[in-house]
């Protein structure tokens, strides 16, 4: 369900991670989430604790994309029907995945060519550059299900600031790709959904061609400046979301959703 490949280009190598569960709109399972983390580590190597002596990764950038019409519809909540631990696993995995994407040594370009909902939208917070299209549907409709999207708040605020984060987290309505672009959640917005993934690859190729040490040092420094390299807030946000797992409100609303089909 996760494809990993590389593409040689004029200036270097681009790593490509593709969500490949199109029939389920790339809804995330714990296995897929673990697959994204494994893919980043396979492509880039483990997160480095210092800057000395370690060889640079062989790739210069990563594209994260999805097959089918949607980028990612969020968690596969049907898993929570049989497994009461599934939501905990998904939330913890998502938090870890965003951190791994954010902290890996190379820039991550995300192609939101179609819907990026809930956990799918949260992945945008792990990327350095996001490409979308005008009519993509983006947002966090999960408060309606008694689930708190708090887990991704520390990363969303780094992209769009506290005011917009508040609006997006509390409003279960979805916004268009154009609105996401206007608020800074996406950095390029195309009119043609079919060109989004190609455009993301072009950007990734340009980034892969840039000097590696400078790029890695810049990303590392940006993470330091905006707090992406600190775990405290990520852990507190994860705890806020996990604190509601199993609540009566969540169980009732999920049950109503499953019943409605």
């Amino acid at each position: 369900m996760i494809h990993v490949s590389t593409k040689e280009c004029a200036g270097g190598v681009v790593g490509r991670i593709t969500l490949d569960r199109a029939e389920k709109k790339n809804a995330l399972t714990p296995l897929m989430i673990a697959g994204i983390v494994a893919a980043v580590r396979e492509l880039v190597g483990e997160e480095r604790k210092d800057t000395g002596g370690t060889p640079m990764p062989r790739i210069g950038s990563i594209v994260l994309e999805g097959n089918g019409a949607a980028f990612c519809a969020g968690f596969d909540l049907t898993l929570c029907r049989e497994n009461s631990d599934a939501l905990d696993q998904l939330l913890a995995g998502l938090s870890g995945t965003i951190r791994v994407l954010r902290r890996c040594e190379v820039p991550v370009v995300l192609a939101a060519h179609g819907a990026a909902i809930a956990g799918g939208c949260a992945l945008l917070g792990g990327a350095d550059v996001v490409v979308t299209h005008h009519e993509a549907k983006i947002g966090y409709p999960v408060v309606r299900l008694g689930i708190s999207p708090a887990v991704s708040a520390p990363f969303l605020r780094q992209s769009v600031g506290d005011g917009k984060t508040r609006e997006r987290m509390l409003d279960s309505g979805l916004i268009s790709g154009w609105e996401a672009f206007r608020m800074g959640l996406a950095h390029e917005c195309l009119e043609d959904a079919g060109k989004v993934r190609d455009r993301a690859m072009v950007i990734a190729e340009q980034l892969a061609a840039k000097p590696r040490w400078g790029m890695a040092a810049t990303k590392r420094w940006m993470n330091r400046v905006d707090g992406s390299d600190h775990d405290e807030w990520a852990e507190r946000a994860l705890a806020a979301s996990m604190g509601l797992v199993g609540s009566g409100e969540e169980r009732e609303r999920l049950a109503a959703m499953w019943k409605a089909g």
């Binding site: 408060v143 299900l145 005011g163 508040r166 509390l170 807030w233 946000a237 806020a240």
Partner: protein, 256 residues
Amino acid sequence: MSNLVELNVHGGIATLMLNRPEQRNALSVELLRALHEGLDGVPGDARVVILTGAGKSFCAGMDLKEVLGEEGKEPGSENRGTQALKLLTLLAEAAVKLRSLPAVTIAAVNGAAIGGGCGLTTVCDFAITHAESKMGFPEVDLGVCPAVVAPWLVRKIGAGRARAMLLRGGLMSGREAHAAGLVSECVESREGLDAAVQSLAERLATGGPKALAATKRLLNEIDGSMDLELARRSAKVSADVLGMPEAVAMLRAKMG
């Protein structure tokens, strides 16, 4: 509760209306006390709280007559300083109380929202206005320091844009306020405002109360909204500058 702030509750949506239309809902000590009472009276099971103003204005800011005291008082007099600090501290504490509500808050900016009135809109989670409304922070134009609203504006639109907005002073249209990120939605005319607010309120009310409250609590922690000491210090800074001769002279001139 004084009728200076009216609280109405319908189906999980509570509305707090500043009700001093003859003074454009200017913030007096009495009105702010009523606002505190109103906030305390919001039912625990309310999912959405709408803050709005009676009449044509949302809120014209501080009641200057009350801040300046009686004619003939010397600038910086103890009486004036005490009154200004009391008023601004009440405003600062009301802002923290408003922010701490577990319900999602919407400022329905029906008309002018100036200075502290505009500040109240930035404390709400959402704000909706119409294209012809007037919003902004003209404090520096009057020799006054908008310290009490500064932390909320920084949280709303970011430090860089807040700095420019507060230092440039002046007012902007509802449309400009939307472009600046001060409001989340701007409808074309006053006539369309109520429907837009109701639509947003009903959508927000579909959220799980526990999920909304937990999310708000985390957001308030992350952005430092519950820092009551900072709010009170900000009130003190604003009150100190209000007592200075420059501000007193300019405010008196504005009042005519």
